[in-house]
Assembly symmetry: C2
Homo-oligomer: 164 residues x 2
């Protein structure tokens, strides 16, 4: 007898924070950046679910078991004069790979982008992550390699902000 | 007699929309993307100043004359469990280059990032824009070239969202 477990997507809620942090950490390990995860459960609760939260979470369930998540926010295109939807993080746990959970999360977000009148659905990928890149190309996404992100953080940000 | 015109920064307001669109268009010309500017004054007014606006504008004045602008929004880092500040567009009109207007806008944004508890201040630059790249490096920003942005838009986005 085979039990078929249905995949569903629902908005994340505050009680998901520990699970979200566990997923974030698993993804960072894959991205070789475990040491860069400094978020706490409390940080996640406050910044994704607090009054002024601008980022949003989704949970993918297989049956009633969380097997993946996404975090997104609305970015903006001045050329279009409208918002876009930016996917910050997408992760499916190892034991749920190949079930379609990742594609279901992406489809849910594409629909949300269309429903909100967004002109673009965007995300970033590490340049060595070939399986992800091939998947993204297969669903019609285009790389924007001419745009390089710059970042100011930590001491450099504090110093630049403080300098008269 | 020399008249010294003071540079000031203030939040953009709905009546700035025509000036903002003019700046957006000038910047797009420099970025060789004039044909990609499809925004109207009405779009700018609605999306930057409407009830659900998530992006924000700044105007730089020299005396009482607008000479530059910035559009930004809050992004999110799952690794940090906190927001960042993302600068979408920064532009200073040709006749105000070299006056410090661009750096003043960046400093204003760095302070806003610190005031809002953001962990990062980020933006993107075209890989051939050497003057901008040298300037960004000089103020302590670091390139993140290993991250490549992917985009789904237009027909590809509609098709992916509609597909069952």
């Amino acid at each position: 007898m085979t039990t078929v477990l249905t995949l569903t997507i629902r908005p994340a809620q505050p009680s998901d924070a520990p699970q979200i942090l566990a997923f974030i950490t698993e993804l960072a390990e894959y991205e070789k950046a475990r040491h860069e995860v400094i978020a706490s459960v409390d940080d996640i609760q406050r910044t994704l679910f607090g009054d002024n939260a601008t980022a949003h979470g989704l949970i993918c369930l297989r049956g009633d078991q969380p097997v993946g998540f996404a975090v997104y926010f609305f970015n903006y295109s001045t050329w279009q004069g409208r918002n876009g939807l930016y996917l910050e993080d997408l992760y499916v746990s190892v034991d749920a790979r190949g079930t379609g959970a990742g594609k279901l999360l992406l489809k849910h977000l594409a629909r949300e982008a269309c429903a909100k009148g967004c002109g673009r659905f965007e995300w970033s990928v590490l340049d060595w992550n070939e399986p992800a890149i091939q998947f993204y190309k297969s669903i019609g996404a285009q790389p924007q390699p001419e745009w390089v992100r710059y970042r100011m953080d930590g001491q450099a940000l504090q110093a630049f902000a403080a300098d008269a």
